[in-house]
């Protein structure tokens, strides 16, 4: 009986091909939109996480002042000094590296070309902490750091913008009003999670930076990389204790610096992306509802059109239940068709978007299964009312209808 009903449904759908296709479209768009949104969103959130991981793993960022991200930030707080970094290095255990950094935008010049970029003064720990690897050359030596030698390590954007086909190693790059020798080239990291070019960097030994570019000895931030993720809270507390003492913060007084856990920020950002994905999916789900109403509409038309047929069926002994099943199966088949096409279309759109937006394509089989089930459910819910109307027709009235 069920097989008969499915066959009947297919026949009826085929007979009204154009109308069926238009009805399907509602479901196709709804399911397709949900699938595309969720799949793209999942890929985007994966990308965000990957990018944040590139910032350095298990990283704590120490900045002077309070709440440097929010409004009312207190930027005149005393900057860190080299001795603060040394104290952290001496007192923290379970860390891979402690890297001070000071930054400034400057014009870099090589030959006839120039390029504005961010120049960072730091130590060789910075490469460890930030997970920077070199494609060629070497990092600063301890001697170079101590004496403030004019050497630099440059990012791949600088290489392409200024050097072209010339091998940059050993060349002298002008930064502001001094020149330094290029001793290392960084591997490319690509765009950051915030959309900036991470490869547009020039790294100098901290003292070189202070003397030649900044004219002061300020350190704006200190990055600490913790070996084990589980140790992060402990290291964070220890770092706070060390700095409170060094900066003479009285007990009970608020810190005049902040130690941020980047992992936490990364998780927050990933969670935000997930919420956004859910939101987009929910908007798309509304169009699915509209598609369902389309099915109900067309099924009601179908019942009206086929009143006479229903009358014949009832007259020759079809039970209410059998007529109900017939129309319910028809709407379910219709909705499932739409659902399947929608899933394929949605995945196609997501795959195309993945290429265009450079995010990973990640089709979640659970979402696909869910879309399938939801399509069937739409068929049941929106097909029930028209089907019941068909089943309850009076056979005499129905047969009289032309």
């Amino acid at each position: 009986m069920l097989w008969e009903a499915i066959k009947l449904a297919l026949t009826s759908i085929r007979r009204n091909a154009l109308r069926s296709v238009l009805t399907l479209l509602g479901i196709v768009i709804g399911v397709g939109a949900v699938i595309a949104m969720v799949t793209i969103g999942t890929g985007a959130s994966q990308k965000v996480q990957e990018n944040l991981a590139k910032l350095g793993s298990n990283m704590l960022i120490v900045r002077a002042g309070q709440s440097t991200f929010g409004p009312g930030s207190n930027n005149d707080a005393r900057a860190f000094e080299e001795r603060d970094v040394a104290a952290l290095k001496a007192n923290l255990s379970g860390v891979r590296g402690v890297a001070p950094s000071a930054q400034r935008n400057a014009k870099t010049v090589y030959g006839a070309l120039n390029y504005d970029t961010t120049v960072t003064g730091t130590t060789s720990d910075y490469f460890i902490v930030q997970d920077w690897t070199l494609s060629e050359g070497r990092v600063f030596t301890e001697g170079e750091e101590r004496s403030g030698t004019t050497v630099c390590v440059i990012g791949s954007t600088i290489v392409t913008e200024l050097f072209g086909s010339v091998d940059p190693l050993g060349q002298r790059l002008r930064i502001g009003n001094f020149a330094c020798e290029v001793i290392g080239l960084l591997d490319s990291k690509g765009q950051s999670a915030f959309g900036s070019d991470q490869d547009s960097v020039v790294l100098l030994p901290l003292r070189t930076f202070h003397r030649r570019l900044a004219g002061n000895t300020r350190i704006s931030s200190i990055n600490i990389s913790v070996t084990e993720a589980a140790d992060i809270p402990r290291v964070q507390r220890d770092a706070e204790d060390v700095l409170r003492e060094r900066r003479r913060v009285a007990p009970g007084e608020e810190d005049n610096f902040t130690v941020r856990d980047m992992t936490q920020i990364a998780n927050t950002m990933a969670a935000t992306t997930t919420i956004l994905t859910g939101l987009l999916g929910a908007v798309a789900a509304v169009s699915l509802l509209v598609g369902g109403i389309g099915i109900m509409n067309i099924m009601l038309v179908s019942v009206t059109e086929r009143t006479r047929e229903i009358g014949i069926r009832l007259a020759i002994g079809a039970l209410e239940r059998q007529v109900l099943t017939q129309f319910l199966v028809e709407s379910i088949v219709l909705a499932l068709f739409g659902g399947i096409i929608g899933i394929i279309a949605g995945l196609g759109i997501a795959a195309a978007a993945a290429v265009l937006m450079d995010v990973p394509f990640n089709a979640d089989p659970r979402i696909i299964a869910l879309a399938f089930v939801v399509s069937a459910a739409i068929g049941v819910v929106f097909g029930y009312f028209p089907a019941r109307r068909a089943a309850r027709l009076d056979p005499i009235e129905a047969l009289r209808r032309e």
Binding site: M1, R15, E309, G317, I396
Partner: protein, 234 residues
Amino acid sequence: MSKAQPLVELKGIERHYGQGGGLVRALAGVDLGIKRGEFIAIMGPSGSGKSTAMNIIGCLDRPSSGSYLFSGVDATALSRDERALLRRNYLGFVFQGFNLLNRTTAIENVELPLIYRGNPKRERREKAVRALHLVGLQGREHHTPGELSGGQQQRVAIARAIVTDPLLLLADEPTGNLDTARSHEIMELLTRLNQENAITVVMVTHEPDMAAYAHRAIRFVDGYIASDETRAAA
């Protein structure tokens, strides 16, 4: 079920439509007994209640009052689905407008009642082929109604009505849409089914020529049976 027991027994059947001042008494007290093996023609002007009577006998409609025993069973007490089961198993319907499913082949139309009975495919095919043979449509099994003449369509409808081996065949103006020659062919077919296959036939018609095929003619006027004549066996 004894031979003496009537197949259909109507007593004091009334059927009203509307309410209060607009009340229409389509049937105003009908007593009628139909025995197995009879071939009955129901006649009368339009609005006389003959179609209403057919609907009640066919368990498509329920009387407002009165009693209806079908083969000894009180049909007025049956639920909607029980009446559907009764129609499915014991009754066959032939309509003036054929009422076949469009774009559906002859054999599929004939199989339809068997699908609702839940018969397996092979059995359905066999029975449908046999029924189509019986009405003289061998070789037309896979034609759709659109490809068949009116007379052939009505034969398909008759095959659909008899495929379940019903006790009673109800035909509402079966020749109403057919020309004279085709009409006589259909009447000969009904006569043959009545005599050779022992199917009780009740037929509504307004053509005396067609009514002449029946053994018994019942005339309705204004919701009453005005006359009930049994012709001497030919």
